[in-house]
């Protein structure tokens, strides 16, 4: 028996280990609840503009992956300052990277397509949430991919690239949690799914920026936004699920600001008979992303023309040299 085991190295226990779970925390009963974060900004205040002691503004940057034809990185800062008494951050921030490959010709084996074939892949990094994600995409990630595809399909003018493919690859480096970590329901990854709506809105915005960077023909810029309703009937924009114990319904949209249209709508929960207000709230939140997207677009256009000018100037100089 012992002969079969490897005795030259110190091996890990065969059955794996699990962290101890204590029946009772050492601290006083109310301690855990005292760590619960609360929403400090107003119900209509967006996450990105919120000024906390050490918080920063939303970061959206294009052209971060040189080998891709377009790429972008989005960071929405955490909403609460980290507490002094616990090492666990009370709320999470959102960090998403998108890269775009294509438009490129479809492989010979693929059937003819009269339009651009859009493939969206959304993947959480294994460390993106408190609950570890595997390396293979699970159903939530695939579902996000379908939502993102619906959001982008309406925007991209696909008929201009027959027989071509476009791959949008999104990696979520840090995602929003479904609930506060101290709540029972937050464990095991089978949460309410409110966090996914925030992630989807982020994915839409960042993918839109990456498409812009790849200079693909679109009818408009699509931007993501989220709104939710709490149990007492209050509408909150860009909710951070950890700050609300009692969300009853939430809605994420992909919004085309200049056309006033919605390409993607994902609404869930008990909204009653009239979801209009919630959808409107989500579009307001999306307007916040639109302004960021516009800034980024101008900035990247500026850099691009500058680079192009420099290149042409250098070429001109080259001509002079040889002539």
């Amino acid at each position: 028996m012992a002969a079969n085991t490897d005795r030259r190295r110190i091996n890990a226990p065969s059955g794996g280990t699990s962290a101890p779970v204590f029946a009772k925390p050492v601290k006083a009963p109310g301690y855990l609840q005292s760590l619960r974060p609360n929403r400090t900004r107003g119900p209509n205040e967006l996450r990105k503009t919120c000024k906390q002691t050490n918080s920063i503004r939303t970061v959206l940057q294009t052209g971060v992956v040189p080998s891709a034809s377009g790429s972008a990185y989005l960071e929405v800062p955490t909403t609460t300052a980290s507490s002094q008494s616990s090492l666990i951050p009370p709320t999470s921030s959102l960090k998403i990277a998108a890269s775009i490959q294509g438009p490129k010709p479809l492989p010979r084996s693929a059937p003819f397509s009269p339009t651009l074939v859009l493939t969206t892949t959304v993947k959480f990094a294994p460390f993106a949430t408190r609950y570890r994600r595997g390396y293979i995409r699970d159903s939530a990630e695939r579902d996000l991919g379908v939502h993102l595809e619906a959001a982008l399909r309406g925007v991209i003018i696909g008929e201009r690239w027959p027989k071509s493919g476009l791959e949008v690859v999104i990696t979520i480096l840090e995602g929003d949690e479904d609930a506060w970590w101290g709540d029972d329901k937050a464990e095991g990854g089978a949460g309410s799914g409110w966090g996914l709506l925030n992630v989807l809105a982020g994915c839409i915005t960042v993918a839109s920026a990456a498409i812009m960077d790849a200079s693909i023909d679109c009818v408009d810029m699509v931007a993501g936004g989220v709104a939710a309703i709490t149990a007492d009937g209050q509408k909150v924009l860009e909710p951070c699920p950890a700050e609300h114990q009692d969300l009853v319904a939430a809605c994420a949209v992909g919004y085309l600001a200049s056309r006033d249209e919605i390409t993607e709508l994902w609404l869930k929960g008990e909204v009653g008979a009239d979801p209009d207000e919630l959808i409107e709230g989500a579009t307001h939140a999306a307007m916040g992303s639109v302004s960021v997207l516009r800034e980024v677009l101008l900035e990247s256009m500026g850099t691009k023309t500058k680079v192009a000018n420099e290149v042409s100037k250098r070429k001109l100089e080259d001509v002079e040299m040889t002539g």
């Binding site: 579902d143 379908v146 799914g193 869930k268």
Partner: protein, 371 residues
Amino acid sequence: MAPPQLQHVNLSPAELSFLRSTLCQDPPIRFDHTKGPKDFRSMRAEYDVLPGANGSARIALEDGTEALVGVKAEVEKSQWRPSGDAQLRDADADANDKDAKAKGQNSWMEMSVEIPGFRDDDALPVFLASMLTESLLASGGLKDRLYINSRFHWKLYIDVGGSFLVHISMLTVQILLLSPPLSYPLALLSMTTHLALLTSRLPALKSDKDEDPLFDDDWDAAVFLYPKSKANASEDKPPVIVLAMAVGPNIIFDPCMEELAVADAVLAIACANATASSSRARIVSVRTIDPPSHLTPPGVPNSMNSATGGTVPASSAEALTQRELFANSGVWTPPRGGMKRGLISQVVKMVVEEGGVAEEVISALHAIELG
């Protein structure tokens, strides 16, 4: 590689353009001209078809698409979670039978959707399963009824299959679609799941509180998962999903494959029936669906086609400009952009209003069970 699509409609740009213009008329002339914009396709439905399941149903459309749903429940040990307040927990245990509210967990229901020709991780089955799951879980009533005591709960498996099968398992709901879908199968699956859940029963519990659960072995004594009251207006029923598409100024419900190929936008709306607290149907989930019309080939106008006496544009840039100019001339161009907000609220209103589509579908499914 391109992912598998729903069976593609092979319509030429000219046919698409014709279909669209008929659908845009007032009143619209549908692909099946005998139907109005709110009419559903006729179907045959039966329930309790699988003897080994807690509940099951089968619905067949006349075009041959059919769905089979089995609901199976298993007793499962609840995972005990440490909670800070031991006192609170004891109080909970005392009150647990009276108040099982908000004790249900989302993981107690597992849904699997099988569609022939698709792998279970393809986009379509994943999307269908998550839409069905989230509409069932939205109200919280179902999952709370799966609570037995602080140590045990039912797990429901729903298996959906088609030419279409649905499998509901732990409450396993399995949906099995038996034939490849000839139209977008969401509404069909949801109606079959609704019927299966409406008729599924759980064995009656004989034990008290926190004892190990012991059940009455008389199937006749079994209780319905969705309890039935005499006054049937206010009882809780599973939600149904209605598919609506917008084309031009018109809104059409339960579109068939060919109609979807010319849709401007498609919306799936899950709604639950009216309860005591609200007189109208309630929305529990709404999603946009990417219409297949985005994938249709654009038409080539005669003036750009040398075979019909036109001149082929010299450069691709010129071709693009000419194409844009022809956008509104009746030559087929795949729709662009999304849905106006006003249109969404109009669709939602048509679904939830009194005597609206949702009420009609739910009462029709209820009638199957009675009759």
